[in-house]
């Protein structure tokens, strides 16, 4: 599942709560989950709250995700549960 966060210009810590809640739900179901973002606003808050240690941030070129406008996007992959 993917949440596309294109053109995000404003987020706050409630976004962190949603991402963590999603992560915990994923852990319970033992399924993977992918969250996408191409906004520096999103990336800034993720790094500020150190959630990038859990939510892996990848340039979209690496993960094959490039916008139709050619801009590099970022993929935030929520790492699956470690068994």
């Amino acid at each position: 599942m993917a949440a596309i966060m294109e053109n995000v210009t404003f987020i706050d810590s409630s976004t962190c709560a949603i991402l963590i809640s999603a992560f915990k739900a994923m852990q319970l179901k033992k399924t993977g989950r992918l969250v996408l973002a191409d906004s520096p606003v999103v990336q800034s808050l993720i790094e500020l709250t150190r959630l990038h240690t859990v939510f892996e941030i990848l340039p979209n070129q690496k993960s094959g995700i490039i916008g139709i406008d050619g801009r590099v996007k970022f993929a935030i992959t929520i790492i699956g549960p470690v068994n």
Binding site: T9, D12, S13, S14, I20, K24, V41, L48, L51
Partner: protein, 162 residues
């Protein structure tokens, strides 16, 4: 005489205590900060700190009651931005130590974000005729019981250099 701060050469924005209005104010503030500082990262940090503070005011000062006024005074002092968030809700007796909670905690990241985004911040409650102590993060609680019992104004001030 008003004891409220006056924004000299600044801008005053006002919203009601509704979550949906926070993003509007923050986006406007971001634009003002970019214009003043020429620095988008600085503006983004201010925006993030103010968003967290506004949410705190709505939830903790106004207890999610709508239609309460929140005023934001923005001003520039050479290479420093001063942002004052003003409410008349429940006053805080201290500013908490900013700490990042465990990953699994879904909330309680607000003060951490504020602390990381601005250079200085402090808080003061002002009554009809007297002002309470200026509170700093992690400092001792202030004796504001008498102030908080009567009509009062709370001012959270952010300073951001660029």
């Amino acid at each position: 005489m008003s004891v409220l701060p006056q924004a000299n050469n600044g801008i005053t924005l006002s919203i009601r205590s509704e979550a949906g209005q926070v993003s509007l104010l923050c986006e406007a503030l971001y634009a003002v900060c970019v214009y003043a500082s020429g620095n988008t990262e600085c503006a983004l940090k201010v925006q993030q700190a103010v968003a967290e503070a506004l949410n705190n005011i709505i939830i903790h000062a106004y207890h999610k009651q709508p239609n309460q006024e929140i005023t934001v005074c923005w001003s520039q002092e050479e290479r420093q931005l001063r942002i004052q968030l003003i409410d008349t809700g429940t006053a805080m007796a201290y500013l908490p130590v900013p700490a990042l909670p465990d990953f699994e905690a879904e909330n309680s990241r607000g003060w951490w974000i504020i602390d990381a985004c601005v250079d200085e911040y402090f808080y003061q409650t002002i009554g009809a005729s007297i002002a309470g102590p200026v509170l700093y993060p992690g400092g001792s609680p202030g004796d504001i019981a008498l102030l908080a019992a009567g009509p009062h104004t709370n001012i959270l001030t952010f300073l951001k250099r660029f």
